[in-house]
């Protein structure tokens, strides 16, 4: 993982832990021991926003950032990709073997639906 990837991950973890929309300054102060420049954190948040992983809202003169989905939702999404349960997908991944029972599939699918709902809400707002 490159430095950028590692930073994105750290910033994302701050946002997940806070559980409320943060301004850049908040993230910088939580990551104080890394001695990051304000602009660096802003760039990272910008990248995450462009990737659709973070959304932002204008609060007064500052942007407030929050994760689009919870960490668990993202993990569920990856698992669904990995198990090829999203249906109608070309061979995007290769997997060792299929191993899912129905209750587990339902839990995963619910998580995915939740994730999709979040995103649609988000698009509806902007």
């Amino acid at each position: 993982m490159g430095r950028m990837g590692e930073l994105e991950r750290a910033v994302m973890e701050v946002l997940w832990d806070r559980g409320e929309p943060c301004v850049v300054r908040d993230v910088v102060s939580v990551l104080a021991e890394r001695n990051l420049a304000y602009t660096t954190v802003m760039t990272v948040l910008d990248r995450l926003t462009k990737k659709g992983l973070v959304r932002r809202q204008l609060d007064g003169r500052a942007w407030r950032y929050e994760p689009v989905n919870t960490r668990a939702d993202y993990v569920a999404r990856l698992m669904l990709d990995a198990l090829d349960l999203t249906g109608d997908r070309p061979a995007a991944l290769t997997r060792f073997a299929q191993s899912v029972s129905s209750p587990e599939v339902e839990v995963l699918s619910e998580a995915l639906e939740r994730a999709v709902r979040h995103r649609t809400d988000d698009q509806g707002r902007s």
Partner: protein
């Protein structure tokens, strides 16, 4: 007429061969040869299907396909007997070719998009472990191991898989996945998946796609058995597929039948096909592909 007949015969031959080849056990002994055979068979099948339409459409010219095509496109005087029906058949042939190319491109774009998204999220939630360099670990109780293909392929295992398997079994699973990554099996599967998307109603396409998917897994098993002991791989495969109760709806991937076939193959431990047999098979494949090519290109 000569070209039409040749192409038609080759098309029928390819079609007839699909089911026996999909059932054949001897192919499992040398999966890589099998994969190449299927690729050549599919290419021939597609080229012949397009070629037959083009050949029928251009038959009134009484010339070889490239010459007739250039006179048709060049607006030379139409020969006697060249009717609107010929034009329709000809255009159908081109539409088929365009559809195939478009389906392949569309599948590729989708795959790249899914992978990029997957990679982005993976970078945020997966972790690394010193014990397993180069492998990402996803904290989830389900037993999963997969490969995210690409130029920088990434092998991922779930913490559930690490808990369910011994370190040696994990190594066998990783060797399997790394073979997928190294030999770009995703690129092998893509055209078959694209063709299947384009022609979902044609059962034969599904048979081809499943046969290739199985051979790809067997090839990865073959390498994993070489790196680690076959017993470890078989145990891992049993453990990972054990929890399957009901096949999930809409799941393509591997079916239970495929896992059983892989296990049978590992247990039997038959030797690969003799070199001469493999060479002859590949030669047959090349002859097959060259039939439509000789009419369409030369």
């Amino acid at each position: 007429m000569n070209a039409t007949l040749h192409l038609l015969v080759t098309l029928v031959l390819c079609t007839v061969v699909v089911r026996p080849l999909a059932r054949a056990r001897w192919v499992w002994r040398s999966p890589r040869t099998g994969i190449l055979l299927w690729q050549m068979l599919m290419l021939t099948w597609v080229l012949c299907a397009v070629g037959v339409a083009v050949a029928i459409g251009l038959s009134p010219y009484g010339r070889d396909i490239p010459t007739a095509l250039s006179s048709w496109l060049g607006g030379a005087p139409r020969p006697a007997g060249f009717t609107a029906l010929h034009v329709v058949v000809l255009v159908t042939g081109f539409a088929m070719a365009a559809g195939l190319v478009a389906a392949l491109a569309w599948s590729w774009i989708r795959v790249v998009r899914i992978r990029r998204r997957h990679r982005d999220i993976l970078a945020l939630v997966a972790r690394e472990d010193e014990e397993l360099p180069g492998v990402l670990i996803l904290d989830h109780p389900l037993t999963v191991a997969y490969c995210l293909p690409g130029l920088r392929a990434q092998v991922v295992v779930s913490s559930g898989a690490l808990a369910a398997l011994s370190p040696a079994e994990v190594a066998a699973v990783l060797a399997h996945e790394q073979t997928h990554a190294r030999e770009r099996h995703d690129l092998v599967l893509l055209p078959f998946a694209a063709l299947r998307r384009l022609l979902p109603r044609i059962r034969l396409v599904g048979v081809m796609a499943e046969a290739v998917a199985l051979l790809v897994e067997m090839r990865a098993d073959e390498c994993a058995c070489r790196d680690q002991s076959p017993g470890l791989l078989a145990t891992a495969l049993r453990r990972v597929s054990q929890s399957a109760v009901v096949p999930p709806p809409g799941a393509i991937g591997i079916t239970d039948g495929a896992v059983a076939a892989r296990l049978a193959r590992i247990d039997r431990a038959s030797s690969p096909l003799p070199l001469l047999a493999r060479l002859l098979l590949l030669l047959g494949g090349v002859v097959l592909v060259s039939t439509p090519l000789s009419f369409l290109v030369v």
